[in-house]
Symmetry: C2
Subunit: 454 residues, 2 copies
Amino acid sequence: MSRPRPLSGFPEWRPAEQGVEQAVLDSLRHTFELHGFAPLRTRAVEPLDVLLGKGATDKEIYLLRRLQEEPDVDQVEVSDGLGLHPDLTVPLARYVRQHAGTLAFPYRRYQIQSVWRGERPQEGRYREFVQADIDVVGDGTLAFHHEVEVALVAAEALTRLPIPPIRMRVNNRKAAEGFYAGLGLADAGAVLRVMDKLDKIGADAVRSALRDTAGATDEQADACLRFAGIAAAPGEGMGTLAEQVAALGVEHPLLAEGLNDLARVVDAAQAAVPGALVPDLSIARGLDYYTGTVFEAYLVGHESIGSICSGGRYDELARDGDRVFPGVGVSVGVTRLVGALLARGLIHTTREVPAAVLVAVAAESERGRCTAVAQALRRRGIAVEVSPTSAKFGKQIRYADRRGIPYVWFPGDPDEVKDIRSGDQQQADAQRWQPPAHDRAPRLVAATDDKEHS
Amino acid sequence: MSRPRPLSGFPEWRPAEQGVEQAVLDSLRHTFELHGFAPLRTRAVEPLDVLLGKGATDKEIYLLRRLQEEPDVDQVEVSDGLGLHPDLTVPLARYVRQHAGTLAFPYRRYQIQSVWRGERPQEGRYREFVQADIDVVGDGTLAFHHEVEVALVAAEALTRLPIPPIRMRVNNRKAAEGFYAGLGLADAGAVLRVMDKLDKIGADAVRSALRDTAGATDEQADACLRFAGIAAAPGEGMGTLAEQVAALGVEHPLLAEGLNDLARVVDAAQAAVPGALVPDLSIARGLDYYTGTVFEAYLVGHESIGSICSGGRYDELARDGDRVFPGVGVSVGVTRLVGALLARGLIHTTREVPAAVLVAVAAESERGRCTAVAQALRRRGIAVEVSPTSAKFGKQIRYADRRGIPYVWFPGDPDEVKDIRSGDQQQADAQRWQPPAHDRAPRLVAATDDKEHS
């Protein structure tokens, strides 16, 4: 068997990088739990009728087939088929419907799992990646303040990481829909689908598409384009955005409501994470799917990475007969974020292994005593490794140094512990000694300025 | 779409149960990190040549196929195919070969991920489940003391959980192989494969199979059966095991070495986790694959669950030309363990959500102030939810009670906090107040005696 190589589309981190993703996930989870979101883990597999349901039809799905199965394609009934979930919203909606009888609403869950998309190999896109989602799901109704909440939790979770500053562009479906209605364009969905292509096809093509598919006049099309060009500057909150919209001369109650909702999200964010949220009416992505607030976040100075986090409000996350479950949620693209940070050398951990201490072994006959020292430290929550060999101490110290283990412990009479970075060596008691707080566990560090993550 | 139902073989926990698995995983991971094992997460997918390599051929594999792919089976080349990993050893071996140039050996990693097996649906076996593995991998050589270490870490990780006591049955491949060699049976692998069926087919069938496939005489077959019947009693360490073997009158250096290695593991365990490890020469499972220590763990009084944890030494975890990577590892069957504990009502968490505090909202106009209180508490690491409604306080208290949130906070002048279990209500300052340590986060609790997990 030849040396294994990476699989295109299935990213995997190198040994020195493995701890970075773990630390990022731990940090996101910590923020989610501080805000009272409870853990959910669903199976990775869903039946095809769930995968091909509403909102999921545009996703490329991986189907499962048993290796020992007869290779007769005809027997693979679509209705019996199983596939891997392409996101965490599909399984959430299914889980909510399945357990509606016992869930306590509003249901607040976080979910951190891999998802899979059967993209064409040649596109070089991710086919397996980790997402970290939070959602608040109501039963029948869901208060608007959860839209503010979820956007702020996402911003807080990202700004807690030692990464470049984030910018979260926010829009509101109601504002766009109200504007189109006020213009006299009845099919808001058709307009939104065209406007979503603005970046790709340009203003002229959008203008003709609005005429052809949404029945717009030239004047209506121009108004739509001017509306989509309105955004505030970073750090100024809503700025003059409402005045710029008013200058277009279109009025509609839904437009007013949407701008009001947008201002509530942006104003709350100005207080909590100043400058992070920017209202931007050009954000059309997802507006066809979402029904209220919608947002997507970028790393400032690294916009080419694309959106690292997006979310919003959907009035019908799930439905069971007449019972409707509205939701608001956000998904952090952990693999995209971590992959880009690692590729740019922007992040690392203070060490590659959990151990804060390596207990040196003077001779194999002393290994029992060294293990006892290690257990005494572990009982007080200190991660410890016992040297795998009783080689010369210099070699054992290099073993620690290669892994970034900051302390080497020498059992003796008395014991001594050496900080191998400073060379400082002192007497120590395994029942009492503590490493400084910043050395207890590996920490994420922004590599640009070595500014440490507190 | 009809109400979704569980998928056979793809277990998933109910809302109240979700936190149990998370807490079990956190506890296992904590023990692994205390012992200096570093995190590894591999992609879920491996190429078929890796999946069908040595040691993996008996596993049922799920292959992936893109939904949009042309349904032409002939184009699915086995060599190009991708499948889901059926365990965490196959990806570890591949990862070690792939990164041998940069890994620091001995490489100590833990890995907690889902695995998939394409079992026949009608068998009702798990087709997706979570494993928690640790392994120590050497480059060329791997010291015996790691066999002792890994068995003890596994025992410590399991005994740290609030679950029924565990019993870990330990054997050593060398002892069996040496015994067969001393008897004059040259093909130890053939003998082991037969002995592995003892529980299923019984002594008479084993006797004839040993004659037919391993060339054993009746006397040799009887000796193998007597050897496999030897085990110590729980709590007595090696007891008279060595004497019982000696009484069979077979001598061989490998037998002596194997019994000596077995005694070293068992003696170390008697000191660290008294009574947990029991030497048992009937353990044949895996011996054909493992090369030294082998063990499997059960819950005492719940043996019908089957082995919840197994592992051992393999001299050739991976190979790259002449470079060999020996390993010793253990795999905890988290889904089997958690599923059995939940089904028997043996475990739960102290609450279903992370929040220790619900901040009550007297009126929607007060929500901003309530959010500020919540943020002050969160800044000191306390998980807090703000009431989703400004309903009557009685209703908000019931909201907390239903989720097990122990404290309700009433912003006022001054603020007050109520322990809704005792009814005790006191003045409190959001900048200073702390919940008792045992209320900070949900904890695992053994349901039988409500003995709490410290």
